[in-house]
Amino acid sequence: MGEILRDYDVLGAFWMTIYLTFFSAIGALVIGTILAVMRVSPVSVLRAAGTAYVNVIRNTPLTLILVFCSLGVLYILEINLADPQSPTSIRDNAIRWAIVGLSVYHAAFVCEALRSGVNTVPLGQAEAARAIGLTFGQSLTQVIMPQAFRGAIAPLGSVLIALTKNTTVASIIGVAEASGLMKEIMENETASFAVFLLFALGFVILTLPTGMLFTWMSQRLAVKR
């Protein structure tokens, strides 16, 4: 085990997992919030677009979404997220497109989480907001969404945990994260239980506190009714 830790950059691989998780979480939250707003908006075409996005993305395997990002968008459409002349363009492009793919995928689930949050807001809140003359935008941003976010903390935590685990799929487009490194170690050395436990515990250490933090926050920030 000591040799494996010396010969392979286990911490570096987990750092990549954290890096992917962090930026994808921000991306997913932004896209997911826009989608959730679209799905409750007065414009029917926006509602339809939001629903279509969620239905398509949610039913596609993440593997395929990431392959489309890399092979389809980067290599066929030639949309670079890093300077193609730079000496690290392949690595940077792979990481950045992985973040985009993970964000796009998890945004669908963030949207669903927020919608469940919206459902926790009593009808009277919206009625009251309308009654005092707030427009759709005002009642959404000042009355509904602040409460919806607080009601959606627990499901958002689940999405974040799933996102942490799903970063492993990025190895399929060549991002050097934890699962790819474990596969490499098992192919080069041996498939020992200890190696698996090392990596599994890494994920437990990443996800368990997240779960506890979100449970605590969801209780702490719950809207008292």
Partner: protein, 292 residues
């Protein structure tokens, strides 16, 4: 969607006109992007007729896609059955009044919920190869199915637990008062109701299993995604093959989601259980489970 109708007034003539303009503009933007993508695909030679026509020959379907689809469904079906067994055992284990059993089941469930499925698949596959317990041709399917079973089983264990928690207390009390032991009441009164309530959630979980089985292609377990790759190799049309593969996955999962909705409505209408359906007993574990 409680707020849907009260967040805004029914649009008047002016608003309707504005929405129409928005729709047209939005439509044009989407069409413009689609056209740009198609133009670029064409320029890169990805729209050539033979590349797409070869996807719709009998050989591609009988030799690759249908066997792949069957392998995907097979792995998903075995996994969901295994996951249910695992889930019921460990879910009730977590409700046990014997503390060590409760703790043990809790640790197992939390562990498998925290470990990425892909990590488990990689490990099991390499580990089987080292240990050689059984025939090598079954390593890929065994690694895929066991990893899916362990993860989804622990999700279902949580469903079982919260399903039982969601029942009115009176159900158990009634059971105890007619002289059943605690485990008898759990088995014959609470669990059956919890399971009925869980049914839609279980079908939604099947979508997760079906999608996750695509991870097996990394081993490789020769399921739909692997077969799609094989088509791309044999016919030199990787991108078109992937697009077709994505469409197949979306259709299959969409159908399952649809069925889940139907079952849920049916159970709600029948209204037999005391607890109602467990739509999202634990946040994010059912329809919102964002596993790959």
């Amino acid at each position: 969607m409680s707020t849907q109708n009260v967040l805004f007034d029914a649009p008047g003539p002016k608003a309707r006109a504005r929405h129409l303009v928005l729709t047209v503009v939005g439509g044009l933007i989407v069409a413009g992007i689609a056209a740009a993508v198609l133009w670029k695909f064409n320029e890169q030679g990805q729209l050539e007729g033979p590349m797409w026509r070869s996807l719709f020959t009998a050989d591609v379907w009988t030799q690759y896609l249908l066997p792949g689809l069957w392998a995907t469904i097979k792995a998903a079906a075995i996994s969901i059955v295994g996951a249910m067994i695992f889930g019921i055992i460990f879910g009730t284990g977590r409700l046990s009044h014997v503390a060590p059993i409760r703790w043990f089941c809790g640790v197992v469930v939390e562990f498998f919920r925290a470990v990425p499925v892909l990590l488990m698949m990689y490990f099991l596959f390499s580990w089987f190869a080292v240990q050689a317990f059984f025939d090598a041709q079954y390593y890929p399917i065994a690694a895929t199915v066991i990893a899916l079973t362990l993860y989804n089983g622990s999700v279902i264990a949580e469903l079982v637990r919260s399903g039982v928690f969601g029942l009115p207390k009176g159900q158990r009390e009634a059971g105890l008062s007619v002289g059943l032991t605690r485990s008898q009441s759990l088995r014959s009164i609470e669990l059956p109701q919890a399971l009925t309530a869980m049914l839609p959630a279980l079908v939604s979980q099947l979508v997760v299993v079906l999608k996750d089985s695509a991870l097996g292609s990394a081993l490789p377990y020769i399921e739909l995604l692997s077969q799609v790759k094989n088509v791309g190799t044999a016919y030199g049309n990787v991108i078109p093959a992937y697009i077709l593969g994505a469409a197949l996955f979306i259709l299959l999962n969409y159908a399952l989601t649809f069925i889940a909705g139907r079952i849920e409505r049916r159970i709600n209408k029948r209204g037999k259980t005391a607890g109602g359906t467990v739509a999202a007993p634990l946040p994010g574990t059912t329809a919102e489970d964002p596993t790959t």
